[in-house]
């Protein structure tokens, strides 16, 4: 029983990371039609930003509010980079999807190479508060506290995004833009501002996933974001491409399937199971979980 609980909570922790990356991807694709392959790089920037701040930024550190400050710094840098990428590279290429894919793939490679050039290819131990390394007893299982941190953060982000989309004018513009972008502009709304905002929000969540992923894995390396991105894309597709709640449900499915298959079958089977899950969803519901049934 305790093993099942531990696997489930760990699976949910992983799901939280997937969701944080996938929610941004999903918003960006839904509104702008952009498949952002540079999203993993935002995660890497968030992770290294947090790591750098914990060691160098005055007031920041590996524990307490110092750690919070380090994460805020990492997320801030990720947000800023994402906004700049949108303004400088994506904006000139609106509606040119092939070029956008090429630019984001190239950017992803370049950013990873830049991080590697500055801090090396070896994994760096990631600072984490002591309490995150402790365990809490849950239904007989000793669950590391960082799992709760991950799940809690993802839930807060999910609720915040839903509230933002539901109750703000920008949220209204984004929801309408996901449905019919050209009609939004025909109402006199400059949808490009929403594009930049969505990119920045997506970058912030990915950067947060980078910082939390560092806590979860105990170390960071330049290629971490790119490997997580693949699963995040799978989550987005299973969730229905442009649905935040769909992404949340799909992330939980993928995280749990991966953990349980890795434990009960063999290490590595988890990844295969996720691909199988993707195939099953696409064959039975081609539009993903949230696709409207005709």
């Amino acid at each position: 029983m305790s093993t099942v609980v531990l696997l489930a909570v760990t699976g949910l922790g992983l799901a939280a990371l997937y969701f944080l990356v996938a929610s941004g991807l999903s918003l960006i694709f839904g509104l702008m039609g952009v498949l952002n392959f540079a999203h993993g790089a935002f995660l890497t920037i968030g992770a290294y930003g947090t790591w750098w701040a914990a060691g160098n930024l005055p007031g920041a550190g590996a524990s307490g509010w110092g750690f919070v400050l380090a994460v805020v710094f990492g997320v801030g840098v990720g947000t800023l980079v994402a906004a700049l990428v949108e303004l400088a590279l994506i904006r000139p290429l609106y509606e040119r999807h092939i070029e956008q894919v090429l630019v984001t793939v190239g950017l992803s490679l370049a950013m990873v190479a830049l991080v590697r050039a500055i801090w090396g290819a070896d994994p760096r131990p990631f600072p984490a508060p002591e309490w995150a390394k402790d365990t809490t007893s849950l239904l007989g299982a000793s669950v590391p506290n960082d799992r709760f941190l991950l799940v809690g953060s993802a839930v807060v982000v999910l609720l915040a995004v839903l509230a933002f989309l539901r109750f703000t004018r920008f949220g209204l513009v984004i929801r309408a833009g996901v449905e019919n972008r050209s009609m939004v502009t025909a109402l006199g709304i400059d949808v490009r501002r929403a594009f930049t905002l969505v990119f920045a929000i997506g970058g912030a969540f990915a950067a947060l996933a980078g910082a939390l992923g560092g806590v979860y894995l105990g170390s960071i390396s330049p290629g971490q974001g790119t490997s997580l991105l693949i699963f995040a894309f799978i989550v987005v597709v299973i969730g229905g491409m442009s649905s935040i709640t769909g992404a949340a449900v799909a992330a939980v499915l993928v995280g749990l399937v991966q953990q349980f298959a890795n434990y009960y079958a063999a290490s590595g089977v988890g990844d295969l199971s996720v691909v199988l899950l993707l195939a099953v969803v696409l064959l039975t519901r081609p539009g993903g979980l949230t696709a409207r049934v005709a």
Partner: protein, 267 residues
């Protein structure tokens, strides 16, 4: 003169849809944009808004006599000059409520006339929390027109507002648009000639991507032969063009181009 288009060309997916459209819309009244299916009416409207890539000149003259070049501007900038748009397929946001659809349409450059909208369409008030996607076609058209009337505009571009509506609703929509037209200029794409007859002061006929005729709408409709020749339908007795077989694009006989003052203005 409120709107002037001169030598406007649009190419879409390799097809030369507009081949040098020249037309003017005078301030006040309703100008009907007529023509057979595929003639380029909707594309003409979209080219005003910059919703399709075009070449040529499109200009709007505001109430103060200042001329604004619309060509090359982004769609939202064109709209903010005071142009309302109700597209052919309504394009209300189905995932938003009626109230959210109206809130979204509120422009910062304008006062918002919710009272006027709810007075014209009381049903929208009772259904304000309903998702627009669950409304009937007629109710969705009310939302689309309500979006137009919510703001202060100089020009309304209304594309086939009665398409697919029951006769009773056609009359209701025509009534609302006629009331709106008392205050604002309307460029109306419409295939239902009884609606055109009721509302339009001027008419522009497009055919094969060019303006084939322009002038007084009552004159056009009074001349049954000319209407049949230009529109491919009988204009007499309030006949409706909807559902009338139209020649497939490209196979119809060429229509003689009667260059008129409006047509020549930009030529």
């Amino acid at each position: 003169m409120l709107l002037r288009m001169a030598d406007v060309h649009v190419r879409l997916s390799g097809s030369h849809v507009l081949q040098g459209v020249d037309l003017t819309v005078r301030r006040g009244g309703v100008t009907a944009l007529l023509g057979r299916n595929g003639a380029g009416k909707t594309t003409t409207v979209k080219s005003v808004l910059g919703l399709v890539p075009s070449t040529g000149t499109v200009e709007l003259t505001d109430a103060g006599g200042r001329v604004h070049r619309l060509s090359g501007r982004r769609t939202h900038e064109v709209v903010r000059l005071g142009i309302g748009y109700a597209p052919e397929d309504r394009e209300v946001f189905g995932g938003l409520t009626v109230a959210e659809n109206l809130t979204l349409a509120e422009r910062r450059d304008s006062a918002h006339h919710h009272d006027r909208v709810y007075e014209l369409f009381p049903e929208l008030r009772t259904r304000s929390r309903q998702l627009a996607g669950t409304l009937s076609g007629g109710q969705q058209q009310m939302v689309a027109i309500a979006r137009l009337l919510l703001n202060d505009n100089q020009l309304l571009l209304v594309d086939e507002p009665t398409k697919g509506l029951a006769p009773l609703l056609v009359a209701e929509v025509a009534e609302v648009l006629a009331r709106a037209a008392e205050e604002v200029t309307v460029l109306l794409v419409e295939q239902n000639l009884s609606v055109v007859r009721r509302m339009a002061t001027d008419a522009v006929v497009v055919d094969q991507g060019r303006v084939a005729w322009s002038g007084s709408a009552p004159d056009l409709l009074a001349d049954a032969d000319r209407a049949r020749e230009l529109l491919g339908v009988a204009a007499s007795g309030g006949a409706q063009a909807r559902g009338e077989p139209a020649s497939p694009p490209g196979t119809e006989p060429p229509v003689p181009v009667h260059r008129t003052s409006a047509g020549e203005a930009g030529a």
